[in-house]
Amino acid sequence: MRRRISSREDKWKGVKPKLYPRFGEGFRDDDHVFDLGIFRRDMSLAVAPILINDEKRYKGVEIKGDDAEKVKELLFDINGREWGRSDADLVFSVINSLSQYLIWSGESLFEICPTGKSDVPFILNSISSNVVYKTPFGYIQLVPKEMRQLDRDEKKIRICPAKDVWKIELPPNLGGVRELKNLQKKLRSFPTSFPPFSFEENLGFDLNRFNRGRWSFLLRATRKWGWFPHNLVRDYATEYYSMFRYLVSERTKASIRSHIIRQLNQLFARLKLDGRIDMGSALLSEEQIDKISESILSGNGDFAEILKRTRY
């Protein structure tokens, strides 16, 4: 059992963050849209293993370096948890938290707050990205009125220099924030299971045709992500195609995973901490998934075996 080094209160004692911390961003009306909801749920599900039953399997995941403990404190700040059974458990939970932010909004912001303490030199303050704007002078945060009233803090605009902010975005192969926003817009295109006018007589509405058009559009829009809601589109797909989409989605998850690890290691270097995350060969890399894809293309892959191999 890994103990936490210091309590949250101890950590934050004497530290004054420049930006307002992450708050409940509230639901947009169309966030209830079914397609967007299941897309977010499916794509952010198990980017890294959630529950580790087999510790030995993930023994290769390690936090190395002299400042490993300081690095772990930073990771605790990201995942919001204060404990971790092992390095792997901690790293996986960080990956899952960050990937959720990335899939929801395409980016995630953290303010780097120096503490001046030797055991915990920095604290990462997680920021809601939808109210933060980047300007040549740094990041400007427009704090919502409700939050200000809640905290009795009347300061509406907060500014933070760019050097004190760590920003992580979606990997470039997934198109970045703008493309994700466009995709989300497309996923909001069908707010209901069928249009409200479907029952009108003499309209000639055809549910089968509507469904086929709907899923063709949605699956085409999410081609890069490989999203495939199996139970909903099984009437239109061969087992091979569903496996193909599954592997694309696994590849996407692998790329998000490796991107997060890369960015975290860059952050540690930027903070001059001697520590880095080493994933070893615990999880499948993009290249390994590409090889599996090639094997099923050539007809040598066993679908059940592949599922067993790729699922955690």
Binding site: F190, W215, R220, R223, L232, T238, Y241, F303
Partner: protein, 849 residues
Amino acid sequence: MFLNAPSFPKLLNSRRYWRFLNFVEWGKFKGLAWTYKYDQKIEEKSLAAKMYWELTVASAVNILLACVSVYFLHLSDGWLQHTNFYNWFKLPTSDGYETLLSVSAATGGVLLGLYYNGILVVGSSIYAKAPNNIRNLFAEEKVGNNYIKLLSFLTFLSIVLLVAELLHYQPSKLGVVVVLFMNGLTVFSFALMGRRAFSLFNPTVLYQTVAHEFIRLFERAQANSLLSKNKSIQLHLKKMANRNISALNSLSQILKDDPNLSGRSFAEVFKSTCGVLYSYESAKRRIHTSSRWYEQKYLHKRWHAGSGWGTRDIALQTGTQISPEAEPDYFWFERKLERFLYDVIETNLRSGKFKLVFELIEYLEVPLSEIALNGDVEECSRILGDIFSIVLRGIEAHGEKSIGTKDALALVEMLAVLRLRLFMRTLDSIIENNFEDVCQKLSKLNWMSNKTIYEIGLPYFALKQGEWLHKCLSFEIETEGYLVSPHWYQRTMIKMKYAENIKRAIDVVINDDFGGRVMRIKNSNAKDKLILESVLVSRELEFQNKLNGRIRQVEGLWTEAFGHSEVKGLAWPNIDFSALSKKIDEQEALLLGFCADLVVPLNNHAVAGDKELPDYSGQFLVVVGQYLTKRYLNQDLKGLSKVFEAYFAGTLLKFTSLLPRQYSGSERDRFLLGDAFEPVLDLVDVSGWAKLVCDLKGDQTHWNEICAVWDKQNADSGTPSFIEKVGNIIAMSDNDLHFSRFDDLRTSRGMEMYRMIEREVPVEEVFPKDRSFYVRAIKKSSHPSKLVRIFAEEESVIRSYSGTDIFLTSYFWGKPGFESFERFGWRRKQFLEELVEPEQEKGADEGAG
């Protein structure tokens, strides 16, 4: 691409879009319906043109003759104009022209009247009480209708020409020519049509209209025809087909009740219906499997079992059930037609036209083969069973009176042959499948086109899978922009259906209820049911023999091509060939049981010696002997007691029936005597081999059973004893007939036994201690039986010893009259010495001790 456009979901969610689509669909439907209607009209016109052409051709000689006559008349005009004779005639004037046209119009009117009068007579006498659909057929009779159209046209044309002249138009020379030509056509055609009107007294002529209509409907229902995807058109086509089927049934009712029409005319309709069925089976491969052409059965979906996106939501919002799924009945058309076919067979059987029924059953082979090729082997088997019941009922109904043995036999044999041919053809089609050809075409298919899947020659049983594949692959192309599922996967998906079809077909062929049919004959009241049963059993023997070969081929094909999937983990059909062989063995045992049961009664039957009938008693006797041999070779001796008893009794009866009534000692008589000895020699041979196998297994139960049968017969016989007679037969066949009798069955039986012993009994090769110049290794066996040891060790002798030798030494030796084997030749004496004497010595030694 259209799907990429951000406005696409807006379109799908907009009322206007659906309204527009509806409008487009409506427009498309109207346009195509118009085309469809005109296409139909064009087709009708072309048919009419064809008929006119046929009428023209039929009338051409007469018209030509008339024209030539006119030409010669004109020539004669030229020759005669300077003669006084010519002055008697005048050139036609305007009045003459009018008269010509008036006459032409009047002729048309008269012919119309006459034709209708004739038709009216036919209609009132034959069709007055016919159902509406038959009257409709009569009214829609195409040839007559087109003739009437032609007549009407001619009449009206003449009137128009007359009116034109009244309006001071110049008389038309061309008009005269046309009127002349058409007059000729109608007059001469009238002669033909009049004759044809008589044929309308036979309503079967009307069936041509129905058959033609059926073929037209099949063409319309196919995927490549206009509007074939439209549900309303599909329903309309089904409705039309049902209307025609009901007309066919009404026609059948009329024909059935009329003794003059229920024979050959009815049979002609039967043959045409077989043709229709055949065309339908071919057309079926190009009809959408979800088409409303097929009758629908509605199956309700489960609320919690993947009922499809949005369907539960709709049901909840409307407070209704989930809309049911339509399950097509792919065999509805055949089922409706088969009723008619059964009717024809039944009617002809009732009236005792067995030869005609024979012919009809023969005709059924073509459509049934197509049904089997389409993968509906179960249906074929069911239809065969139904026809068998109908035929048996027909035979029973006639009892002792009118049906002759040969007629009934021919019918039952025809059915058995039909079954054999159908099943063999099914297995052959499996072996010579077109899978590779289809796969090659599959690789070049345009998946975005709706029609191409029907053009690659997919068999019917794989059509649904092809359509599903088409739906999925076109979805892939829409979403990914290219085809994702590779060719090998498509191939596997189609191959799966081929594999399922193989499994289904084999299951039907193997599990076909042959035994049930034999039992039905056994329990029936049919005259000569023994012979009928023999026919079935005899054909079944042929079937089993062919089946064994085919199954081996199918097994090879299965192992090589269809038994495995390229996609691992797919629910692939599995054929357990070892279980199949077991099943075939069971069937064979059942069949041989029937043979054994038949051997004795057949030999006692009155027709046993009838040379016009096949020698079933002889065949079954030999087959039972071979069956016993096979069981001995497999060392499976259980439950053979009754079979042997039947074989024994059958042999004696056969011997008695073959024995020449008078024996003069001539060469011919010796041959005849030799023939009569054959079954007895076979019996002795088989009994001898039984002893060897019992010794080999160390279980004398079956041998004791055999001895008991022989003993009983011996005890029942007078003087000379039975075994003495058999001993004489053996001795005579060797020595007194003055020629050697080698039998192929006994020889091959001996060879098989030799191989079995070689396989089963381990031997050791040892060299004798006193080695001379050339010493050969000697085989030594440690088997407890002396008999078995002799056969296992003495390789050179084994080929010359037979089952008869074993039986002589094992059963006959020591009995009264068999103390010495002098008369059986030195070879048997030597065998006896080798086998019995040392044992005796040993026994004597032991006794002395």
